[in-house]
Amino acid sequence: MTSGAPRPTIAVVVFPGSNDHGDAVLALEGLGADAVPVWHGESELPEASAVVLPGGFSYGDYLRCGAIARFAPVMRAVTRFAGEGGLVLGICNGFQILCEAGLLPGTLRPNSSLSFVCRDVSLLVEHADTPFTTRCEPGERLTMPVKHGEGCYFADDQLLSELEVNRQVVLRYADNPNGSVADIAAVVNEERNVFGLMPHPEHAVDPLLGPTGGAAVLGSLVEAARERMLAMA
């Protein structure tokens, strides 16, 4: 990252029960963005080139993960932002919220083992032509941690074949930790501006703390956000 490059603003939404927004802010700042936390009760987003929904247990994960958070005031603004082509990244609970909100296809169910999994996983990059994976090569492996009890991605047969045909399955687990259909770890919407993944890129950016596979994903996002900022200027 060139230190002189202009820094795009990225909004990081904080729900009651979010717990990974701090790491998300630190990781994005380290990769060249200005990260701004935004409380869930806000009905407007700040001027930003991208939005991140972080991990955690929004609203206690009551009913179904993400089911209540999707009705937070800020989600109307996020939906509008996404509809205008804005870049939206959902990590773990953020991915669950995007699915519940209908911004991403499919849903996340309890892990097939019924156990919480917390470990590093190896991910296979399927597609590099999304704003979230431009720094990756198709076929490349990225290592980053998962930590979830409800990360089993589900799509019925018809949806699954649509996802494959439209090249929306962006990352797959090399060793499936949760029973996700077709080993799916990350999907993008058809327009390719909304992306969700169960693994945590924000926990994997600093070699001091372990694998750094997350820097490829978040670095791609920062770069895409910068291009968007410059294009809008």
């Binding site: 009913l63 179904r64 089911a67 009705f71 519940e100 499919g106 849903t107 169910r109 309890p110 892990n111 097939s112 083992s113 019924l114 589900f154 799509a155 019925d156 029973g179």
Partner: protein, 80 residues
């Protein structure tokens, strides 16, 4: 007016919770071939028109109480 919504995993959807319950019941010596685990939502509604209530409950299920992709639901309205 009281109403009950029963949400269950759709037919054909793998239900790991149900499988765990079934296997525990078998360990206890019960002859159980299958168990499926859903959830019950009991509601106390304003108003006294059961037809209207049913229509509202449908919308509650579609918007929040169930995820139509993986869950089916059953609505019971008790007009008493």
């Amino acid at each position: 007016m009281k109403a009950t919504v029963l949400v269950r995993p759709k037919h054909g959807i793998l239900d790991p919770q149900g499988e765990a319950v079934q296997s525990s019941l078998r360990h206890l010596g019960f002859a159980v071939d299958e168990a499926r685990v859903g959830r019950v939502v009991d509601l106390e509604l304003e108003g006294d028109d059961p037809e209207r209530a049913r229509a509202e409950l449908e919308r509650m299920c579609e918007q929040l109480l169930a995820n139509p992709l993986i869950e089916s639901y059953e609505i019971t309205v008790d007009p008493a």
